[in-house]
């Protein structure tokens, strides 16, 4: 694999009123990699995602995507550059249909405006058609769960696991180069999470999408990650492949606490 740096995080820090949510984070993601970010609750994982997607401004440091700094860009610009994300607490457009959810996500890849819609121009109809087709293709990635009669149902009618799948489909519909998955299998049963793990692998192999993933389910992390970055209290305490990281004493301490004799 040729090492092409897609995303570089350089000395990234953010403080919320004196609280260091993230301190001097340094790492990079190569094209075609699956990188997992793990750590106990409150370690700053989701804050990190919020900064990459432009929803929170960092206090210090830089985020570079394909040679371009993302600092100061609006979230919609960042999505247009090719970074999509999902949300830990599923945030679908719940009164829109499932198909509309993936159609609206193609907004920044399409261009027809007011006049096209009013005059029903040929270009407008062609674009609508392709938006629809790509939306159905993305939904088809998840098997039969999101297609068929469900296309025209409001997203609020989906089961929890299907909402998580639709979140990922919606991120895919923005045609990204990199997807930030925030706890993709949370709340799923072991069978479903195993299935989704396979899909995450296929997302890279078939769709060529690089993945950064926050996940608490270590079986998923072990299964698909090329590299794992461990955060605790806003700092990187370990990085490497899963075997290295899981053997790291700092990581064990962060998750399980210190042995009794050391604590004294």
């Amino acid at each position: 694999m040729t090492e092409h740096r897609l995303l570089t995080i350089d000395n990234l820090s953010v403080t919320f009123g004196g609280l260091h949510a993230l301190r001097n984070l340094d790492f990079h993601v190569n094209e075609g990699e699956i990188v997992s970010v793990i750590g106990p609750n409150g370690a700053g994982k989701t804050t990190f995602f919020n900064m990459v997607s432009g929803m929170v401004a960092p206090t210090d440091g830089d985020i570079v995507f394909e040679g371009e700094s993302l600092i100061g860009l609006d979230p919609n610009r960042i999505t247009a550059l090719g970074i999509a994300r999902t949300f830990q607490n599923v945030r679908l457009f719940s009164n829109m249909t499932i198909l509309e959810n993936v159609m609206v996500a193609q907004h920044c890849r399409t261009s027809q405006g007011l006049w096209g819609a009013l005059l029903q121009t040929r270009a407008f109809r062609r674009e609508e058609q392709s938006i629809r087709e790509f939306g159905e293709k993305v939904l088809g990635f998840f098997g039969s769960r999101l297609v068929g009669y469900r296309l025209d149902q409001p997203a609020s009618m989906l089961s929890y696991a299907n909402r998580r799948r639709l979140e990922i489909a919606r991120a895919m519909a923005t045609k990204p180069k990199i997807i930030l998955l925030d706890e993709p299998v949370a709340g799923m049963n072991p069978k479903e999470s195993a299935e989704l793990t396979t899909l995450i692998g296929r997302l890279r192999s078939e769709w060529g999408i690089t993945i950064v993933m926050i996940e608490h389910d270590m079986s998923v992390v072990a299964e698909v990650s090329d590299r794992v970055v461990v955060l605790d209290h806003g700092e990187t305490i370990a990085a490497g492949n899963y075997a290295e990281v899981s053997a790291d004493p700092d990581v064990i301490e962060a998750y399980l606490g210190r042995p009794v004799e050391a604590a004294q």
Binding site: N76, R85, A105, H107, G113, L114, Q153, P154
Partner: protein, 599 residues
């Protein structure tokens, strides 16, 4: 859950949730006392419905059947046993009516024994006569609770009769009420069709239905609900079963019928009714515009009247010979249709100007700021500073009508022509709403409405998209303003009060946000029957209580039916089909899909 499996014998009449009945009854009593004290029974007393039974009498009596029916309804929770209906429902309705009317009895007693004219200026002795039912206070104390109990029992009893019988009672009642209310419209239509004899037979000379007329209408309604219903619903089912080409043809036929009705109806109606229709059209146009802003894009704009005002003033200044004298000579006097182009530009510019600072705010803050801008625009038109241009409080007068290709002129004196003009613009607005809703722009608006931060993260430039909604809404409102100016012939700052914004918002909310059919129904019912902020409605008797009713409706809708009277048809249909589809699909997928059921 099949009903046979869980149906158990009816509950005893005394096995009641007394707390619930008590509170519903107390609310009924308080509301009735309020209605009586607001003088509604007397002010509406001149509008005869049926043989001397007036709208005023109805204002005292309508509530008991409604709350009695509510009290008789038993909430059925999933997995709980379902009792058969029986004496309990009737008793609950009767108790509610009894408690409610005890309020009226106490009021009557109180008025007889204490002088309440001092604190309540609106109070009139005629109300007392009505409350005493012609007799003494003592008879009122007996009669009211009895009447309440009987009415409540009937309403509660509606739960135990079969749906067919219920329809046989409710359909004639509503039909008779509607034909009484629509007397002006119906006599107009009958008159123009040469059927004066029919309307003379049905309606009494001094207004209201004759007993014989009411009976005739009742019998017709019964006949309809006995035979006609199945014919109509059968035709409907056949229509929705049509597919492909046939469906398109069917839709075209329906559309043609609607167009013919809209074109033909005003020909049958008199001047007053056409005036009402023209007002309905003006407000419908505004409501359609606001529906895009509030219903689709979720921006709660409380200053929407600003765009109505800009449209009205721009058209007025360009077309009127009597505009402010500070205008330089190069500002031309133009025909209305030329002025309309300028109106569009100005409305869009105002939309951008107001929108740009406001759009970065969200929710309540945005609503408050738009409220302010709505007032600012009106005050600007009123101000001394601009009075050389806008005429200040004197406004702009002598606005000529709209000359349509030099063929004829649409003026306020010819409300029928105004209606046609407004209808054309409403059709345009409906087309715009319909097309935009199913486009990239409309989907982006909905996404912003659902969750603005997520929409932004999905690549939507929310600032631009919201500005777009503001501008489209502004242009539609300005059309309405321009027609309004030509119709009335003059514009004054006082035509553009904040109340206009509120009334349009109520129309949109009551009709059903984001739903075109709902907005149309909302404007016909609210503006047509009750009237706009300054415009009279079909029931002039309501004019002093208009705002009260608007307020009550708004609160009630937000509590009970936030999706509006006519919720989104597409979604409702899906909801009905869902279980069936899900079963079919689950059977199909049973082997491959073993996902957890939603919690």
């Amino acid at each position: 859950m099949s009903p046979e499996a869980t149906l158990v014998p009816p509950r005893a009449a005394l096995d009641q949730d007394w707390h619930r009945i008590g509170s519903i009854g107390a609310v009924t009593a308080l509301t009735l006392v309020f209605i009586a004290l607001s003088n509604m029974p007397v002010e509406m007393g001149d509008f005869d419905l049926v043989a001397g039974f007036s709208l005023g009498d109805l204002s005292l009596l309508w509530l008991i059947p409604v709350t009695g029916y509510m009290a008789g309804r038993e909430a059925v929770l999933e997995g709980m046993t379902v009792h058969a209906k029986g004496g309990r429902e009737v008793a609950a309705g009767a108790m509610t009516g009894l408690v409610g009317c005890i309020g009226l009895s106490l009021l009557t007693l109180g008025i007889h024994n204490f002088d309440i004219r001092d604190p309540l200026v609106n109070w009139s002795p005629q109300t007392l006569e009505k409350l005493s039912i012609g007799g003494s206070a003592a008879s009122a104390v007996v009669i009211w609770p009895l009447l309440g109990a009987v009415l409540g029992a009937i309403a509660g009893g509606m739960h135990i009769v079969s749906p067919r019988v219920r329809r046989l009672i409710v359909t004639p009642a509503i039909t008779i009420l509607l034909s009484a209310v629509l007397e002006t419209v119906l006599t107009d239509i009958f008159g123009d069709m040469g059927l004066e004899d029919v309307s003379d037979f049905v309606y009494a000379p001094k207004g209201g239905l004759d007993i014989a007329g009411a009976l005739l209408i009742g019998v017709l309604a019964v006949a309809y609900s006995w035979w006609g219903r199945s014919v109509v619903s059968g035709a409907r089912a056949r229509f929705s079963a049509l597919e492909g080409n046939r469906r398109t043809q069917g839709n075209a036929v329906v559309l043609a019928v609607i167009v013919i009705a809209i074109v033909g109806l005003p020909q049958l109606l008199g001047g007053i009714t056409n005036e009402l229709l023209a007002n309905v059209g003006l407000f419908l146009l505004l409501a359609l515009g606001l529906n895009i802003v509030v219903g689709l894009a979720g921006i709660l704009d409380l200053g929407y009247v600003a765009f109505f005002a800009v449209g009205g003033y721009t058209a007025a200044i360009l077309t009127s010979a009597n505009r402010g004298d500070a205008w330089p000579d190069w500002v031309p006097h133009t025909p209305w249709f030329v002025a309309l182009l300028v109106v569009i530009v100005f409305a869009a510019a105002t939309g951008l100007f107001i929108g740009a600072p406001v759009i970065r705010m969200r929710g309540d803050y945005l609503a408050i700021v738009t409220l302010g801008f709505g007032e600012i625009i009106r005050l600007l038109f009123l101000s001394d500073w601009l009075s050389g241009y806008t005429g200040g409080a004197q406004g702009v007068t002598n606005i000529p009508g709209v000359s349509v290709f030099g063929l004829f002129t649409v003026k306020g004196t010819d409300p029928r022509a105004v209606f046609y003009l407004v209808a054309a613009f409403c059709a345009l607005a409906i087309y715009v709403s319909w097309r935009l809703e199913k486009s990239r722009l409309g989907r982006a608006w909905m996404a912003v409405r659902e969750d603005e931060s997520v929409a932004e993260a999905m690549g939507i430039n929310t600032v631009n998209i919201k500005l777009m909604a503001f501008v489209v809404g502004a242009v539609l409102a300005s059309f309405s303003g321009a027609i309004f100016a030509a119709k009335v012939g003059s514009v004054f700052p006082s035509s553009f009060i904040i109340l206009v914004s509120i009334v349009i918002l109520v129309v949109v909310i009551v009709g059903g946000m984001g739903n075109i059919v709902g907005v149309v129904a909302g404007s016909v019912v609210l503006i047509g029957v009750l009237g706009g902020p300054r415009q009279p409605g079909l029931l002039q008797e309501f004019s002093s209580f208009k705002l009260l009713i608007y307020g009550v409706l708004l609160v009630w809708m937000m509590l009970m039916r936030p999706e509006g009277l006519i919720p989104n048809v597409r979604r409702t249909r899906e909801l009905h089909h869902t279980e069936f589809l899900q079963d079919a699909w689950l059977a199909d997928q049973a082997d491959t899909d073993d996902e957890m059921a939603p919690q």
